[in-house]
Symmetry: C2
Subunit: 315 residues, 2 copies
């Protein structure tokens, strides 16, 4: 067995603490040695204010997981790859498609691994859904992805800024599942985007897609859902109906539950990262972000009522 | 010499009459045999109301040039490629990036040529500019692309609809030149988009890009220019300053005119289409449209005064 990969983390926020750190701790292929964060510190590792200081001080770092908001990801990813370090990107992998192209070029030139992760693809129902759909004739797809932004993203202003994607931040999870499980390609044919009067990103979106042989897909993303939360994908085929619910955790075929397993998305991500590093391969599928870019380009914009997500927040 | 390729044209509007038809007539590699258009007829060839009727009635058609607005292009392109016909796409090649991916797949599967054209790349100054910039260190780029939409696109409502791209319809010409001549990649870092209150597409845009080693590029696109029209790209390098003006027709290095040649963009396009067909190759570079999609995704939207482009037009 080879020595564990010396890993650093950049961006110590909610997603890092809730998901990355526990999965890293459980995976013997990695040893967390450092963290870079403007505001936070991690116990038991070296801490730095910036990634550049960290890379200068600790040349032994072999791999880095980038968990900060997407707007700041490219510069640090490019520097890490240029220094010969393997890079794991949280979703979405960047603020533009072109910067991801650039990262892919640098990773290839440096001979290191770039892994653009889509955590929802590691939900337990996703691979069984893909296997069941393979070879079947798809008729239609319906996605309902409705949640309460005030609950899930309280005070996260970056998510409302350009590059933060608004409701596409959760919606892209649905698109990452859909592009993994469907045996045919789809392309956007129309979109309606609802922007709160006081925000630079949409709070709701309705997307229409087509595929070959009259396949259609409709997606509803809405961040104004205050009751039960919904993360469902339904696929009608010539051989029955598939429903992936709870964000991919539960799979049902023709209303019979096929599988329901405990969530372990980030354990799956780090297992895959270790495989990719061992094989010196990259895994960069931009198709979910490409559909989002298409939606911004082709979408019709509507202005809706302002969103105030904190008491006293009136900006 | 092989027999000329039997060519049909779909979409008989201004761009077809002004540019495609004269260049096709001058190129012995093609013989125009049919046209499909809802409203227009061409003398001397078979005319049809739809592309599907045309393909059914004339199986001898070997290639087709699609000159209608981008929103309608994908369905006809997919049908033509699926029937084994070579396809030339006017710019922009589609309304989304994903539909172009789909066309590339079909072309590869059918073994035919798909040519996504960027006519400005065939302006006479472009290849000499690319040659001069090769190997030089780029410092900065400045694009000014300012024209009067009322003059150039009178009453063309499709250009203001989602998918019509607004001021990016001309601006993408500048991006098509820039991505051809620069020896380094660039990626968008910010954009400001100005939408007229009564329109679904922007009338002006300011784009900021970065490249490796602190290269920066700024682009100003504005459709409200009523005086002299400007289509200029200036590139500062370690070995002097290059200016491509008049949309790529005129090239100057350090203020000395290097070349100024008569415009013959579409002759160049059809010469290249003939080469591609002979070699059974495709030429699909989506990078200009990818930058536009990035700008819509990352751009901050501003609402500006309404645009009324015709007397009595108050919608």
């Amino acid at each position: 067995m080879t020595a564990p990969t010396a890993l650093a983390i950049v961006g110590v926020g909610k997603i890092a603490r809730d998901q990355h750190l526990p999965s890293i701790a459980r995976n013997p292929a990695f040893r967390l040695v450092a963290a870079a964060s403007r505001n936070a510190r991690l116990d038991g590792v070296e801490n730095f204010a910036t990634a550049a200081e960290m890379f200068d001080a600790m040349p032994k770092i072999e791999a880095v997981a980038l968990c900060m908001p997407p707007q700041a990801r490219h510069a640090i990813a490019a520097e890490a790859l240029g220094r010969g370090k393997h890079v794991l990107l949280e979703k979405p992998p960047g603020a533009t498609l072109s910067e991801i192209e650039n990262l892919t070029r640098i990773a290839d030139a440096s001979g290191v691994t770039l892994f653009a992760t889509w955590h929802s693809r590691f939900a337990p129902g996703v691979e069984p859904a893909r296997d069941w759909l393979a070879g079947k004739t798809i008729r239609s797809v319906r996605i309902d992805w409705m949640e309460d932004v005030r609950h899930w993203h309280p005070g996260q202003d970056w998510i409302w800024e350009p590059g933060g994607l608004g409701v596409f931040d959760p919606g892209i999870n649905a698109l990452s599942i859909l592009t993994r499980i469907l045996p045919v390609p789809i392309w956007l044919t129309g979109a309606e985007l609802s922007f709160p009067e006081n925000r630079a990103a949409p709070i709701a979106a309705r997307l229409s897609f087509q595929g070959p042989s009259d396949v259609t897909a409709e997606a509803l993303f809405d961040w104004r859902q205050t009751g039960p939360q919904t993360w469902d994908i339904a696929v009608e085929t010539d051989a029955g109906k598939l429903i992936l619910s709870s964000g991919g955790a539960s799979l049902a075929i023709d209303n019979g539950v096929v599988s329901e397993a405990p969530e372990a998305e980030y354990d799956g991500i780090y297992a895959r990262f270790a495989e990719l590093i061992a094989a010196r391969e990259s895994d960069v599928d931009v198709s979910p972000l490409r559909h989002v870019a298409d939606a911004f380009m082709l979408g019709r914009r509507h202005i809706v009522e302002p969103l105030h997500d904190r008491a006293g927040d009136r900006h």
